[in-house]
């Protein structure tokens, strides 16, 4: 009897461990199929599986990845997560990374992987599908869609001719109380970082202080700014380009439009892009994925569903936006937009935060 119950407790602990192990193996499909296909594992060689680490949300890219599967017959499995977290995971995984493709929300994360030599060079024929402004210099990542900084304005309250060509024009006292901004918003902060990189610390501070003197109305993000513009609460607002289409798509008469400043931080373009992870077992397969994301079908999907700028040459822009080639965007190294601490310190210092 004594022995029985002694075995019972040992059994309980061991059983708990075994249950976890067995259940884990039994119920979860092998996720490392695409990685190091062994000779005994014939299945993995018959149906290639592309493993994608996506920092872009499933609601944004899920549908188009599904279409890629259907049209090419290539099976994919996607791990969704934060852009930065997934980049860090690939760095930590080292040579055992299951990822073939890394799909990032911004260029900085792609640059971080490229700097650590974790991305393969993309073939020139694929790279040439996109203007070289939106690819990495060494051809290790490629832009798929772009996000532009814009000045949105209420078309009933402002005529286009009143709008300045430079962000410095908004320091004029005539804009007092009519500007909307969102200093706590990430995209605004990266605009300020861009301003610091392009024009230097002193000028950036001078611009921010000038805007502060015009008593801007503070909003919690881009969407509330576009809403406030629609209500006529403010005349102009500093936002990213793709928020407005969420209003004009269902309601074409929505009284707000884009204005682009010329070659300053106000018209900066950041990209969402793709890199091929160096641990991939099938680079050709990965390049087919990139080609598909730059195909007319996928680029139209992005232009009309996520309202970002399609980056493939000759891709059609949605709505009333001007083609990306016509935006006089500043030449800024997107990899240098990593000093958020400095930007936050500056915004705090001028009491914008």
């Amino acid at each position: 009897m004594a022995n029985n119950s002694k075995f019972a407790i040992i059994g309980a602990v061991v059983a708990a461990i075994i249950v976890v192990g067995v259940v884990a193996f039994a119920t979860i499909p092998n996720n490392t199929v695409s990685q190091e296909p062994s000779t005994t594992d014939m299945v993995s060689q018959e149906t290639p599986v592309l493993t994608i680490y996506s920092g872009r949300a499933e609601t944004l890219v899920g549908p188009i990845i599904e279409q890629f599967e259907q049209e090419t017959g290539i099976e994919t499995q996607v791990r969704y997560g934060g852009t930065a977290e997934l980049a860090l995971a690939i760095l930590e995984e080292g040579q055992n990374s299951p990822a073939d493709i890394y799909f990032a929300q911004d260029a900085g994360a792609l640059g971080a992987l490229s700097k650590e030599d974790r991305l393969l060079k993309i073939s020139p024929s694929v790279l040439s599908m996109v203007d070289s402004d939106f690819n990495s210099l060494d051809g290790e990542w490629i832009g798929i869609t772009g996000r532009a900084r814009v000045v949105d304005y209420n078309t009933n309250l402002v005529s286009p001719s009143e709008l300045p060509d430079s962000i410095w024009g908004f320091l004029d006292p005539k804009w007092k109380g009519k500007i909307g901004w969102s200093p706590q918003n990430g995209s605004f902060q990266s605009f300020v970082t861009g301003l610091r990189v392009l024009e230097g610390e002193d000028r950036a501070r001078q611009w921010l202080e000038g805007i502060m003197a015009n008593e801007p109305v503070v909003y919690s993000g881009n969407t509330p700014i576009v809403e406030a513009l629609g209500r006529g609460e403010i005349h102009v607002g500093f936002v990213n380009n793709y928020y407005l289409q969420r209003f004009t798509s269902p309601d074409p008469s929505y009284p707000v439009a884009h204005h682009y400043t010329k070659a300053d931080a106000g018209s900066m373009i950041n990209v969402a892009g793709v890199g091929i992870v160096d641990t991939t077992s099938d680079k050709a397969l990965a390049e087919r994925f990139i080609q598909y994301m730059l195909s007319d079908n996928a680029q139209t999907y992005f232009a009309t569903s996520t309202f970002e700028y399609p980056l493939a040459k000759n891709a059609q822009v949605a709505g009333s936006q001007i083609p990306i080639g016509q935006i006089e965007h500043p030449k800024v190294d997107l990899n240098k937009l990593d000093d958020l601490e400095g930007t936050l310190a500056l915004l705090k210092d001028i009491r914008a935060l």
């Binding site: 002694k6 019972a8 976890v20 192990g21 884990a24 996607v78 995984e93 055992n96 919690s220």
Partner: protein, 536 residues
């Protein structure tokens, strides 16, 4: 070889059963993993380490976080103790309902909770602002910074203290208070001099959890625009992809955690919390609230409003907005089953490991067992992303077969959340006299029979509270789930996150509502297992 030996119960002289020691070593090893990872990464900085620590406004922000942890912990303890008293020891109406409600804020993902509080109390455009606007109030005092961070963190973490305190209060021998009363002490004096001191271990156990949660949380400070130390760590990760600087900063955080753990251990009372006599367990005297019933209900309603009603209200608003906009929701049933499956499995493993851990620390106190018990807090006290990345590094390089499998995810949950369960079980165990176990042994019951038939039934409340804390916390866990789960394994928390990432709140609303509902059901089931107060 003696695998299980509970025989010698003289404190401090006993030799712990071999099996328990094995469990202790395994847990300690698991906790060393993230620590070793941080050490390795930090060592890559070489002599730059010092300049990294000094180059940020490190100390100022570090002090911010420490003070925040202190304030939130104190407030949480007050709310939790009052709540536990009201729901266990008074004639408060609908006590069972309130018991569940007091736990539920734990189920709210921090982004949802903070967002809801902001939507309600923000200086402009919030619900309260719109209500007060006709009265000529143009702008509300800002919720951002200290007030918001303190409010949100207190409201969504006090349940850690509430559940442990409730456990002790239920396990307390009423005779202790009766003796005090019969010796002429009044009710309030008895509570202050007898009951509260009896609750110290459980309040301390819960408070540690709150303090560590505050120190390691990122989501709430970010939304409340509070300059917390985790924000600096995250900026290093998010924008600079700098694993070395963030490791050095994380080690500074771990040092503070170590100091707190050491201090708490030093002041920990060596007093006995069990009755020495045979002690019958009876229903303790219920306090009649009388004219305090009104204020008590106001207190309960306020906490419930801030912690549950407001967040759920905001979620329902988003949900119906989504329906109006024709939002399509993903396969919610499959995702819910995934969530429950992973969380329940992990909870089972964690509680099975936590019982031996608690027994080790209470029944076999020694330097090494206290060290093992203390170190088990480490995973919980580190930012989730640090633990997740350490396991990514360890798993991909050394256990490729298990990497991103369900076992790996469960292992991560064990590292992150085992102290939630150990604390609750430990405080329960403190109330069980070792003499009861001795008596069982002397009557011929062997060690494991004594454990299963005598000890475990008496610490049932603690085990159940621990399980409730663990399962609720796992269901909303994010960083480890995103990086370590089997690929394409979605949980309610990852779907809530996906919606919030995309600023599509109506998409986040349904999974978040289901998360709260499942949590409510889990808590109700778990707490209802714990009916028996009079155990013999």
């Amino acid at each position: 070889m003696v695998l299980l030996n509970l025989k010698p119960f003289r404190h401090g002289h006993a030799r712990a059963p071999f099996l328990f020691i094995i469990v202790g070593i395994i847990v300690a090893f698991a906790m060393i993993l993230p620590l070793a990872y941080l050490g390795i990464r930090a060592s890559e900085a070489g002599t730059d380490a010092l300049s990294i620590l000094v180059s940020f406004r490190t100390l100022e922000v570090f002090a911010n976080s420490a003070v925040l942890a202190l304030v939130v912990t104190a407030l949480s303890a007050v709310i939790a103790v009052v709540g536990a008293f009201l729901t266990v020891r008074t004639d408060l109406p609908a006590k069972k309902f309130w018991s569940v409600v007091f736990v539920l804020p734990l189920a709210i993902p921090s982004f949802v909770g903070s967002f809801a509080l902001i939507a309600t109390f923000a200086p402009r455009g919030s619900v309260v602002h719109n209500l007060l606007l006709p009265l000529g109030i143009d702008v509300l005092p800002s919720i951002y910074g200290w007030p918001g961070a303190i409010l949100a963190l207190t409201i969504f973490t006090y349940p850690y203290v509430f559940l442990t305190t409730r456990t002790s209060l239920r396990g307390m021998d009423p005779a202790l208070e009766e003796v005090s009363r019969s010796l002429g002490r009044g009710m309030l004096s008895t509570i202050r001099r007898v009951t509260l001191p009896h609750l110290y271990p459980s309040i301390a156990a819960g408070s540690l959890l709150v303090a560590f949660y505050v120190l390691s949380d990122f989501g709430t400070p970010a939304l409340m625009r509070f300059d917390s130390f985790t924000r600096i760590i995250y900026v290093e990760y998010q924008l600079a992809f700098d694993r070395v600087s963030s490791a050095i900063l994380s080690l500074l955080l771990v040092t503070l955690v170590g100091v707190i753990l050491y201090l708490e251990h030093r002041v920990r009372s060596k007093a006995a919390y069990y009755s020495l006599g045979p002690g019958t367990k009876r229903q303790p005297t219920m306090l009649t609230l009388g004219r305090w019933k009104g204020p008590a209900l106001v207190f309960c309603c306020t906490i419930a409003t801030l912690g549950i009603f407001i967040p759920v209200g905001v979620l329902l608003y988003w949900f119906f907005q989504g329906i109006v906009a024709g939002e399509v929701f993903p396969d919610i049933l499959g995702i819910t089953l995934n969530t429950v499956y992973a969380a329940a499995l992990a909870t089972l493993v964690i509680v099975s490991l936590a019982v031996p851990m608690a027994l080790l620390s209470v029944r076999f106190p020694s330097k090494s067992t206290s060290f093992i018990e203390r170190i088990s807090y480490l995973g919980f006290a580190m930012p989730g992303i640090v633990v997740a990345l350490s396991l990514v590094s360890f798993g991909a390089k050394h256990l490729p077969a298990l990497y991103q499998s369900m076992s790996m995810l469960i292992f991560a949950y064990v590292i992150l959340f085992i102290p939630l369960s150990i604390g609750a079980i430990r405080t329960s165990l403190l109330q069980v006299s070792p003499r009861v176990e001795e008596a069982a042994r002397s009557l011929g019951s062997n060690a494991s029979r004594t454990l299963f038939k005598i000890t475990m039934p008496m610490i049932k409340t603690g085990m159940l509270s621990g399980a409730a804390l663990v399962i609720l916390t796992i269901m909303k866990e994010l960083p480890a789930t995103l990086l370590l789960s089997p690929i394409e394994f979605r949980t309610l928390a990852t779907q809530v996150w996906a919606g919030s990432e995309n600023a599509s709140f109506s998409y986040a609303a349904l999974p978040a509502l289901v998360l709260v509902a499942i949590s409510a059901i889990s808590v109700t089931i778990i707490l209802s297992q714990d009916k028996v107060i009079a155990r013999r």
